[in-house]
Amino acid sequence: MGSAVSTLAVRRRRKKPRISAARLILHALLVLYALISLVPFYFLAIRTFVPTRLATQFWATLPPQEEANLDASILAFAQNYGLSTRALRERYGVDDFVRTNWSLRRFAEEYQIDETEFREFLRPYVNYSGWLNIAMDRQYLRSLLATIFVVVVGVGGCALLSTATASVLAKFSRRYHRIVYSTYLLQTIIPPIMILLPLYLIITRGLGLQNSYFALILNNWKGGALPILLFTTFVRTIPKDINEAVIMEGGTHHTYFFRIVLPLSRPAMAAFIAIRTPRFWNELLYGFVFLNPRRYTLAPLIASKIGTFVTNFQLVYSALCFSLIPIIVLYLFFNKLFINAQLAGSIKG
């Protein structure tokens, strides 16, 4: 690259950046990296439309529409494409027990169903089984709502508690302020898996929060290095004179906290929410351990779809996409906030 590439400092003084070969190469490399970065997302989107039966072939674009094989047994079809016998009974008004060892063709013949109509009914199962299952299975919606609840209450509560903690620690006027601050920073070097086994005992036996979303929420509320670092640094930017003025006018720490710190902390809270939301949205371990499968949040629900011997890839990838879409949309809307928060957090760290 040599000196052809100027530095940020020198460049600031120039009115127009010089277009050099080195600069062009750097831009080309950025474009290449960005494209490579997007490839997995592209393949993920395509794979949600590739039936598991066709998964052993390479698909760069959407595969052609498949017809249902009517000679397949109802059981095999149900396993591969998620067709429930209840859906069959309801659709064709069948009161009897559906014999899953029958072929689909025999089922159609027994109940005098038109073959063309039957194929039409089965077509979405063959081609979009992943998305169809997500739309029909209420556990996905329940899980999405649970995730939103845990993230909103967890991140919001953590922001509030951390601001309260920071309003005291930021003074660094007493010896114990430094000790508490350092204790919080310790959290960066404690891997969650290390404390998981005894934590399970405390949460379930000690607090009786087995299968409760509050087990996850409390683990968010406890804070840690990042929120304390972020909010303490922020509170320290508030001029000391303001605190002194509040006290001179007969105010207390409550006045200082509710009238000054909280209203001024909005940018820090926004930065914290931007950094923390994706992490809590994707929290797997605590959900996996503390919740029963029926109450899983999104990450553990998706993890539970990975089978030991049989995996419906189309469903797994659709479910992964389903969990990604909300957070990616949120990220794209607030990307500037997120990026600024990341950079600011790094500088402060």
Binding site: S3, L38, P198, K222, Y317, L324
Partner: protein, 307 residues
Amino acid sequence: MKRSKLGRADLLTELLYLTPQLLLFVGLTLLPFVVSIPIVFTDKVDYLDTETSFIWFQNFVNVFRPPIVNSFLPALLRTVVFTGVNYFTTFLFAVPIALVMYELAQTLLKQVFFVIVYLPLMISGVGLGMIITMLFSQDTGSLNLLLLRLGILESAIDIQSPDVMFMLPFAVGWRYAGQNMALILAGLLTIPAQSIEAAIIDGANYVQRLVRIYIPQIMSSVLVVTIFTLIGSFGMVDELIGLGGLTSNRNAEFLSIVILKFGFGGSGESRPGALSEGVAINLIVYVPLLIVGILILRKQIRRQLDT
């Protein structure tokens, strides 16, 4: 007297603000250490086991004897190899991107790139494991199938083989590229503009500036990234679950998965060992790691407090 009363009132108010979160933090982060210590000296099989007896240090002996050693040592080896490769790939992704970002002026392309480089961070750990499977599963991996079709690969990459120790770091490096880039970039942004200007005027080329100015300046960031990578690699769970570490993929059985199986691995034959043995593995591996972490972190904390 009046002053001391005021001081006490201030202290009580301070505690009112500090205590709620501090209690949670101590109870849910530090207390688990204390709770785990008595368990490690017992023969507690699982969480429901109430008839336990003290066996002192037997669990520490057991983890180095068959059958536990057969899962513990290979998992430890996998974790150590993965950590080493992951440390390399972390910088492989983060440093070049940070250097390029530092050199380029603010353009629309740079803004778009920022958006894209952070995008993988939105994927969950388990999702990353699934994406690796989607791309590199031996039979159904999209990239495997593409590379085979193009003739670039003679045989497919197999994520069920030890290849996973080398595939995973690249995927993790890709996922955290934005976050690690930000840490390195933060170090670069602290370089005084005059130092670089002076170096350019003195005829220093890019490589000389890199070696003499940029790299020394980012050493503090490198330290932070080192802590995150070291602790993150040893504690990685989600990605391994996504790769089938809990189910069928033996090569995705790193230490964290072994500990998880010891703790929650069901009952009877399916359980690889007792809960207390899992806690012993936990202490053997993570306490030394914690000490290393504290030693590295101490300097950072002191710097934080001084500023």
